[in-house]
């Protein structure tokens, strides 16, 4: 058995396994840290910046999902300072693309929408970007709406790490980044896509959905994907 390290999360001393991240330790001990791009069972990329935490002795904020624990680490998961930064990160996600909850299949089941509500966001303080984005309906069963994509890359990692097909990638840089299937080929023409639909289940917003659902009708089970990974562990 590996030696445990002692860390402090919001004052409470917790024994953690070396190699675990702050987020993993926090979640295992029922301490809530918001996150959007993190999904249990996938590699962590630190893309959404919602899990930023304060670590004593470190002047800058650190992402809980990619920071490994070490002996004596003291973490603060919630403070007015962190709340204000998380709100900014969420509001910028809303301002970047066209998130119209009123006409979205995932409204009511959307992680972005729920996080905004949890953080008491009643309006976006920044000017909207209103980019003109496409909707890929070429796949017979699924649809990809770039207007609702937050570039969390959960679909990319799910496809590469769980399904093993690696259909998805993110192309471009900064504000021009776009999710692409098979090097810019329309989803319906992607020869490596197995049509398993795991990416759809992993997507936290309505960006990926099954065809045929109306507003508020699309529910997803990302936890099933996490379970797949845990069942494969050690094989």
């Amino acid at each position: 058995m590996t030696e445990k390290v002692k860390v402090r999360i919001d004052g409470e001393v917790i024994a953690a396994t070396p190699g675990q991240t702050i987020l993993e330790v926090a979640r295992a001990n029922n301490k809530y840290i918001p996150a959007l791009c993190y999904m249990e069972g996938l590699s962590a990329v630190g893309a959404c910046r919602l899990c930023m935490v304060e670590v004593s002795g470190v002047a800058r904020l650190l992402p809980a999902c990619t920071t490994p624990v070490q002996e004596g680490l003291a973490v603060t998961t919630s403070s007015p300072h962190l709340q204000s930064y998380r709100k900014i990160a969420l509001e910028l996600l809303f301002a970047e693309r066209n998130h119209v909850c009123a006409v979205c299949v995932s409204s009511g089941h959307c992680e972005l929408q729920a996080l905004a509500q949890d953080h008491g966001i009643t309006h976006i303080r920044y000017p909207y970007n209103y980019p003109r984005l496409t909707v890929d309906t070429t796949h017979p069963r699924f649809v990809l709406d770039h207007n609702r994509c937050v570039l969390c890359s959960r679909c990319v990692r799910t496809c590469a790490e769980i399904e093993g097909a690696h259909v998805w990638d993110i192309a471009g840089r900064g504000i021009h980044s776009r999710l692409v299937s098979e090097l810019q080929r329309p989803w319906g023409e992607a020869t490596t896509c197995t049509s398993c639909g795991k990416c759809v289940q992993a997507c936290p917003t309505g960006a990926m959905a099954e065809k045929g659902w109306g507003v508020e009708e699309m529910t997803k089970q990302p936890a099933v994907l996490s379970r797949l990974t845990s069942m494969r562990e050690g094989r």
Binding site: N98, C101, C104, A116, H123, Y128
Partner: protein, 176 residues
């Protein structure tokens, strides 16, 4: 105490928020005991009156007329409430914002018309380049998201404002 004054209007919206406002059932009686509705779709007044306590505005700012009405309401009201997702985020009306206005109108009124094609100009206000949330045009004091916001939420906001308190909407409402 003198009765307070409420003004309401809808800009680029579907009137659903006003339906929700009416849907507060007997709550509206409680509101009307404290205030008169002096301007709105159900009121005869032709012009937004001076000295309004609470302005409740539904819809995005989409046309010259919307902008003028929003500015008048702001100038003549003490508190401005953005009611519903269109006023708060731009919502559905803002989905046209990626398309140039002329192309949009031609697509609908020329390409999409089966009879008398042509972009209407008489008696309709010119569209603005974008349908924007209310706060892009005027200062907004209270944002009430929802499509539409629940009647209870509207009643809560109005009751608090009429009592002179700032409504604390923290985590009570969501977009959509």
């Amino acid at each position: 105490m003198d009765k307070r004054k409420i003004g309401t209007c809808w800009l680029d919206g579907c009137s659903g928020c006003h339906m929700s406002l009416l849907d507060m059932d007997e709550g509206i009686v409680a509101v009307l005991k404290k205030a008169d509705i002096v301007f709105g779709p159900l009121v005869d007044a032709q012009e937004w009156p001076e000295g309004v306590d609470v302005a409740v505005i539904e819809g995005a700012v989409s046309s010259q007329d919307d902008l003028k009405l929003a500015q008048t309401a702001r100038a003549r009201s003490h508190v401005v409430v953005a009611l519903g997702d269109c006023a708060v985020t731009g919502n559905v009306p803002s989905m046209r914002n990626g398309i140039p206005t002329r192309k949009l109108l031609e697509r609908v009124y020329v390409e999409g018309a089966t009879e008398r094609p042509g972009v209407p100009t008489d008696g309709v206000p010119a569209l603005l380049k974008r349908a924007e949330p209310l706060q892009a045009a005027i200062k907004v004091d209270v944002h009430v998201p929802g499509c539409p916001p629940k009647p209870d939420a509207i009643l809560f906001v109005l009751s608090e404002l009429l009592e002179g308190r700032e409504p604390d909407l923290d985590s009570k409402l969501r977009f959509g």
